[in-house]
């Protein structure tokens, strides 16, 4: 059975991503022409996004229409639109496919964002790991400039708007809005204390509206969706479709567009099922900072609310990492923990020290030498990190550990001799 749909991925493989003319021949820039031609107000565009129930695709799942209308509210002459293409969550590669297969769609969404929120500049922050996508993006920007979709007085609407390309350099933390802003300013990507929030004080300390690649890709499609296809997908509480990246021990890992409400089990089947006849041990949702589900939770529908009810936080980055019974829960957590030890920027104490401490405890758990007191301290540190870290990295780093304690209690039973020590 296949539950895949194509809404924002509908042009994948259908046109040459190096050609603007080809994009135009496939309904490209139709939404922008409609918006600028009819001079649709930014608040009305934001309302369309909200009416379709779109939540930001970067991980925080913020109401996108609300974000755009707040961005429009902000007073100030110079505003920025930022496309966050720093998808660093392990197991996530859907933005790579969106940029590779349909770069113009992302640009169109960004130009509509510029019009809606009243910005004159937009930028794409591309992770260094996707350096190979720079030529295709730069060429798309150039073609749009030549055709008058970017620059001064776009399509005679009076909108002046340009898009710039910025590079990351292998720092996961730069996916966080304020760290990204620092990086764009030519500095080390250390997150800022908040408030002020990015919407008031982002890149170059100007009001900034940040969205993910997938969020921008949705915009032109939703604006042209007169028949209400998007809303007809998914569940009444969580309509629409979602790009997911399925990886790990499945037969056919890859990027899929699914309607919300598809169960985790169906997602695994979509990717060909578990490889080599093994059993599912766990599924991690949303990348390294996501919660892990046990095999008893596979019938949970993939929606923001259902996942939350099941104690799995949310959709996050859209990563679905399937791990079979060859890897133990504790060993899996050690892999995730190694990642956070490497990626913590070291600025705030809870994240810097907490990650290292928990890594040591997990090593001891794997060796069978962990004591009750040590495990309890690790749990306390994990909760402290969640409460007291400066940015989302430290706050979410222990989601996997804390959810594992809940969903896999048997894996944390201490060896007898260690427990009495």
């Amino acid at each position: 059975m296949s539950k895949a749909v194509s809404f924002i991925s509908r042009r994948f493989g259908q046109y040459d991503p190096a050609s603007l003319a080809d994009y135009e021949a496939h309904d490209g820039f139709k939404a922008l022409k409609k918006v600028l031609g009819e001079k649709i107000d930014g608040y009305d565009i934001a309302k369309v996004l909200s009416d379709n129930g779109i939540q930001g695709r970067g991980g925080a799942a913020y109401d996108m229409g609300r974000k755009w209308s707040q961005a429009r509210d902000v007073k100030g002459g110079h505003k920025w639109v930022v496309c966050n293409a720093d998808e660093g969550e392990p197991g996530t590669f859907k933005d790579r496919e969106l940029l590779k297969n349909d770069p113009f769609q992302v640009l169109e969404g960004m130009i509509i964002a510029g019009w809606s929120v009243g910005a004159n500049d937009g930028l794409i922050y591309l992770r260094e790991e996707y350096w190979h996508l720079r030529p295709v993006i730069l060429s798309a920007i150039k073609q749009c400039e030549e055709a008058g979709y970017l620059g001064d007085d776009i399509l005679g609407s009076g909108l002046n708007y340009r898009i710039h390309l910025y590079s990351g350099a292998g720092a996961y933390v730069c996916g966080e809005g304020s760290a990204l802003s620092e990086s764009v300013e030519g500095k080390a990507g250390r997150p800022r204390g908040k408030p002020p929030y990015i919407k008031q004080c982002g890149v170059f300390h100007l009001p900034t509206c940040v969205n993910n690649v997938e969020s921008f890709s949705l915009v032109p499609n939703v604006l042209l969706d007169d028949e209400g296809f998007y809303k007809s997908q998914g569940t009444p509480e969580c309509p629409g479709t979602k790009m997911i990246s399925v990886s790990g021990n499945v037969k056919n890992p890859g990027v899929f567009e699914i309607p919300f409400g598809t169960t985790i089990r169906e997602i695994i089947e979509l990717a060909g099922g578990v490889a080599d006849g093994h059993e599912v041990r766990l599924v991690q949702l949303g990348g390294a900072s996501g919660c892990i589900a046990s095999k008893d939770q596979l019938d949970t529908p993939y929606t923001y609310d259902d996942l939350k009810k099941a104690g799995l936080t949310a959709v996050g980055s859209g990563a679905v990492l399937v791990v079979d019974d060859r890897t133990s829960v504790v060993d899996f957590l050690r892999m995730t923990q190694a990642f956070f030890c490497h990626e913590s920027c070291g600025q705030c104490t809870p994240c810097r020290e907490g990650n290292r401490h928990i890594a040591l405890t997990l090593d001891k758990l794997a060796e069978g030498t962990c004591t009750r007191a040590e495990l309890d301290s690790a749990i306390r540190y994990a909760r402290l990190m969640t409460d007291a870290s400066i940015c989302g990295l430290g706050q979410a780093a222990q989601s996997a550990f804390l959810s594992a304690l809940k969903h896999f209690p048997a894996d944390f039973e201490l060896k007898k001799e260690a427990a009495v020590k």
Binding site: F93, Y166, V323, R326, T327, F332, M335
Partner: protein, 170 residues
């Protein structure tokens, strides 16, 4: 003595011109420092930012040298030491690990005769563990000079990849 300390503190005219070109391509924009350093590094012998290059970039962009080194030392993708011609970056994140990234590391070490973090005596190959670079659909994967080599599930495939890199021998 670190290798970078042995390099002369002056740039050749060609190196300076290459940096000028990179900075011009980035619109002489100091806020593009991260991208500029990556491009300078890409064009440089040894794929790293030498002290002379860092000083030159700082002066050209009107930045303090400490600002430039803050960036160089913060980002893992920017090197301040000469790199092997082929630095094999092995993904060590969970999606690759559960697909056998550690046996991939073992295979590489055996074929090249060096461990993780080491460089072959000829200076041509090095093995490094890196976090996810978004090639989880072809796990386990290696990235080398920006190119991804995926599906390295057994030793023959690892050997075939090395062969693609100038015959895979020192």
């Amino acid at each position: 003595m670190k290798p970078s300390d042995q390099t002369p503190d002056v740039l050749t005219a060609g190196e300076a011109a290459a940096i000028d070109q990179v900075i011009a391509d980035h619109g002489n924009d100091a806020t593009q420092l991260v991208g500029i350093l990556l491009s300078v590094q890409e064009a440089a012998e040894g794929r790293y930012i030498s002290r002379a290059a860092a000083v030159y970039v700082a002066r050209k962009l009107g930045l303090k040298i400490t600002q430039v080194y803050d960036v160089i030392s913060f980002y893992t993708a920017i090197n301040d030491e000469p790199q092997a011609k082929f630095t094999l970056e092995v993904c060590s994140s969970a999606p690759c690990q559960v697909n056998g990234a550690s046996s991939l590391l073992d295979d590489l070490s055996e074929l090249l005769g060096v461990g993780v973090g080491e460089t072959t005596p000829c200076g041509k190959f090095a093995i490094r563990k890196v976090p996810c670079f978004g090639a989880c659909d072809v796990a386990p994967a290696v990235r080398c000079n920006g190119k991804v080599y995926g599906g390295l599930t057994d030793k023959d495939k690892v050997a075939a990849m090395l062969k693609e890199l100038e015959g895979g021998a020192c």
